[in-house]
C-alpha cells in the first residue's frame, strides 16, 4: 500500500559561476530539463510548478514558454535566501495535498558581478533633512546606526555567539572557511574550486571583521530544479526510477518568532533550532544519524552558529565541535562537502535546491570523488534574512 511519503524523482543543478551567454530563463530551463530527464519524466506529467528568482521577480510563466506550456498552476515564490527551499516545499505541499502526483520546483539567479549586497533599506540622502519612514529617519541609517550589510550583520551574529560561549576568534572563523574551500576542490560544479590556506584567507581583503572576502558567499549565476512525486505514483514507475528516488523525510519552513533584540539584529538561531526540532521529530531521525549536512554558510560566521542551531553539537559547543574536526569530509558529521556558499557559490533562489541536489547525489552514490561513502541520510538547511528557514531531511531509497 502507498504511504503519504513524498519523493524526489529527479533533480539537477547547473554549473555555478559565470554564465554570460545565458539569461535567467535559459539557466532555469537548463535546470528544469535536467531534472525532468534525471527523473525520466516530461512537463506533461507535472501538475504544479513553483519557481523562484529573487532579483528578477516571477519567472515561472516565462520558463513554461521555454520548456512546455501545459496550463498547470504556477506559483512564483520569493522568500529571501530560502526561496529555493520554499519552492520545493510548495511543490511538496501540492503533492501531499493530493492536488497532483508530480510537481516541479525551480530556483535561478543571475548574480555574477553583483558586488556587495546591502541590507535593502538604503536610500539616497536628500538635500534637506526630512524625516521619513517608520523611524522618522532624516538620512539612510545603514552605516550611521550600525550596519545593514549582509557581511556585517552575519559577522555580528557570529560574534554574538562568541560573546555568549567564548572561543570564536577570527582564526576560528577563517578555519571554517578553509574547510569549505578545501571541500570545493572536489566539486566540479562549484564556482570556485581553489584550495586556500588559512593565511591566504586571513590576509585577504577584509569585508566586515571577522569576515574576509573568501569567508563571504560567492555571488554567481546558477539554477537548480527538482521533480517531486507521490509515493503512490512512484510505485507505478520503473525499478530504476524507484531505486534512484530519494525520500523527503521532512520538509519544514519556519519564520523568526518575536524575541528581544530581533529588531536590531536578526535572530537566525531560534527559527533554525525550531525547524531542526520539527524536522528530526517528523523524520524520526536524530542529528547523530546524519551522514552529511549542507547548511547555510552565507558567511563563515554563520556556519558556526548553525552547528549549534541544528543540534549537531551540544548547546554552546560549536567551537569545540568544529575544532574536533567533525565537520570536515572525513569527520563524524561532514558539513558542506559541496564547498558551501563560500566556494560553491550562492545564486540566491537556486541555493535551496542545489543543496538538496548535493545531498541526493550522495544518497544515490553518484557523487564521484567527493562521495561520502555509504551515505543514507542528509540534511539541507537555508536561511533567508527577514527571516525564513527552510529545512529538508532526505533519505536513501530502500528499493
Amino acid at each position: 500500500m502507498a504511504s503519504d511519503d513524498i519523493w524526489i524523482l529527479g533533480i539537477h543543478m547547473t554549473k555555478f559561476g559565470k554564465h554570460p551567454d545565458k539569461d535567467t530563463v535559459d539557466l532555469a530551463a537548463e535546470a528544469t530539463m535536467g531534472a525532468l530527464a534525471d527523473g525520466g519524466v516530461s512537463m506533461r506529467e507535472m501538475g504544479v510548478l513553483a519557481a523562484g528568482n529573487l532579483l528578477g521577480g516571477g519567472i515561472g510563466q516565462q520558463l513554461q514558454k521555454q520548456v512546455g506550456q501545459t496550463g498547470i498552476p504556477v506559483y512564483n515564490v520569493a522568500n529571501a535566501c530560502a526561496t529555493g527551499a520554499t519552492a520545493v516545499r510548495v511543490a511538496y505541499m501540492a503533492v501531499k495535498a493530493g492536488e497532483c502526483d508530480m510537481g516541479l520546483a525551480v530556483g535561478v539567479e543571475k548574480l555574477a558581478g553583483a558586488g556587495l549586497l546591502a541590507g535593502g533599506s538604503r536610500k539616497e540622502d536628500s538635500k534637506t533633512w526630512t524625516p521619513a519612514g517608520r523611524y522618522g529617519a532624516i538620512a539612510a541609517i545603514d552605516g550611521r546606526i550600525g550596519t545593514e550589510t549582509m557581511p556585517g550583520t552575519f559577522a555580528q551574529i557570529g560574534m554574538e555567539y562568541g560573546h555568549r560561549y567564548g572561543g570564536a576568534t577570527f582564526e576560528l572563523f577563517a578555519k571554517i572557511s578553509e574547510k569549505n574551500h578545501a571541500h570545493s576542490t572536489l566539486n566540479p560544479l562549484a564556482a570556485y574550486t581553489k584550495r586556500m590556506s588559512l593565511e591566504e584567507i586571513m590576509n585577504d581583503v577584509m569585508i566586515s571583521y571577522p569576515n574576509t572576502r573568501p569567508m563571504c558567499s560567492a555571488n554567481c549565476d546558477g539554477a537548480a530544479a527538482a521533480v517531486v512525486v507521490s509515493d503512490a505514483k512512484l510505485k507505478t514507475l520503473s525499478v530504476e526510477q524507484r531505486r534512484r528516488a530519494v525520500k523527503i523525510s521532512a520538509s519544514i519552513l519556519t519564520t523568526d518568532p518575536y524575541e528581544e533584540a530581533c529588531q536590531v539584529l536578526p535572530n537566525v538561531n531560534t527559527l533554525t533550532r525550531n525547524a531542526a526540532k520539527q524536522a528530526y521529530e517528523k523524520a524520526g531521525i536524530g542529528p547523530s544519524d546524519l551522514d552529511l549536512v549542507e547548511l547555510h554558510d552565507c558567511f563563515a560566521t554563520a556556519e558556526l552558529v548553525h552547528y549549534d542551531n541544528l543540534m549537531l553539537c551540544p548547546e554552546g559547543g560549536a567551537v569545540d565541535f568544529f575544532n574536533s574536526g567533525a565537520t570536515w569530509r572525513d569527520g563524524s558529521t561532514p558539513v558542506n562537502v559541496s564547498g558551501g556558499l563560500e566556494s560553491k557559490g550562492h545564486p540566491i533562489a537556486a541555493t535551496g535546491i542545489a543543496n538538496l541536489w548535493e545531498i541526493a547525489t550522495h544518497l544515490r552514490g553518484e557523487a564521484g570523488p567527493r562521495q561520502i561513502e555509504g551515505a543514507k541520510v542528509g540534511l539541507a538547511h537555508v536561511i533567508g534574512l527577514g527571516s525564513a528557514c527552510g529545512l529538508h531531511i532526505l533519505e536513501k531509497s530502500a528499493a
Partner: protein, 164 residues
C-alpha cells in the same frame, strides 16, 4: 543576502516623542541663534541636555520597539507607552565594517549594545576601529555627533556609543 530586515512600508508622519524635546532647546543650537533647532537622525533619539533614546513599550508584555508597531510582535496587544532607554550598556556583538554604502566613512564599528535589557544597534564612536580596541563585553555610553547642516541650515544630530 536578503530581502531586507525591515518592513518596506513607509510612512511620512513621525512619532512625536523627539519633537517636543527639540522645542525645549539644545545648547548646540544656542551657539548660532539664527539656526533652526537641530534635528535628530531618527525620531527615537531625543536631543536636549541629556540626549537619550526612547522606545515604544508594549504596556501588556513590555516588549520595546524603536519604530511604531500596529500591534505588539510579541503579544499582539495594541497599547504602547514611550519609555527612556538606558544610555549606558555593554557591547554584545560587533563588526568592523570595511565595505559600506557610498558616503559612509570606513572602517567603522557597528555594534549591538545591551542597554539594561534593551538591545540597541549603533556605531561605536571615539574608539580606534580595530579588534585590539573594540572588545566583546566592553562598557559603553551613548553619545551624539553632528551630521552637518542641510541646505536650509538645519543641523542633524546622530548617535552612537563610546567607551565608558
Amino acid at each position: 543576502m536578503v530581502v531586507g530586515v525591515k518592513t518596506g512600508r513607509e510612512c511620512l508622519d513621525r512619532g512625536g516623542a523627539s519633537l517636543g524635546a527639540l522645542a525645549s532647546g539644545d545648547d548646540r543650537s544656542s551657539l548660532e541663534t539664527s539656526m533652526a533647532a537641530p534635528i535628530p537622525l531618527v525620531d527615537y533619539l531625543v536631543l536636549g541636555d541629556e540626549p537619550h533614546l526612547v522606545a515604544n513599550e508594549c504596556t501588556s508584555c513590555g516588549a520595546r520597539f524603536f519604530d511604531r508597531r500596529n500591534a505588539c510582535a510579541g503579544c499582539f496587544a495594541t497599547d504602547f507607552r514611550k519609555v527612556d532607554v538606558d544610555s549606558s550598556g555593554e557591547v554584545r556583538a560587533f563588526t568592523i565594517v570595511a565595505f559600506a554604502a557610498p558616503g559612509i566613512a570606513v572602517p567603522f564599528v557597528s555594534a549591538i549594545v545591551d542597554c539594561g535589557g534593551t538591545s540597541v544597534r549603533a556605531n561605536l564612536l571615539n574608539v580606534t576601529p580595530d579588534p585590539e580596541h573594540v572588545t566583546l563585553g566592553m562598557k559603553v555610553r551613548l553619545t551624539t555627533s553632528s551630521m552637518g547642516v542641510d541646505e536650509a541650515g538645519t543641523e542633524a544630530i546622530g548617535f552612537g556609543y563610546e567607551p565608558a
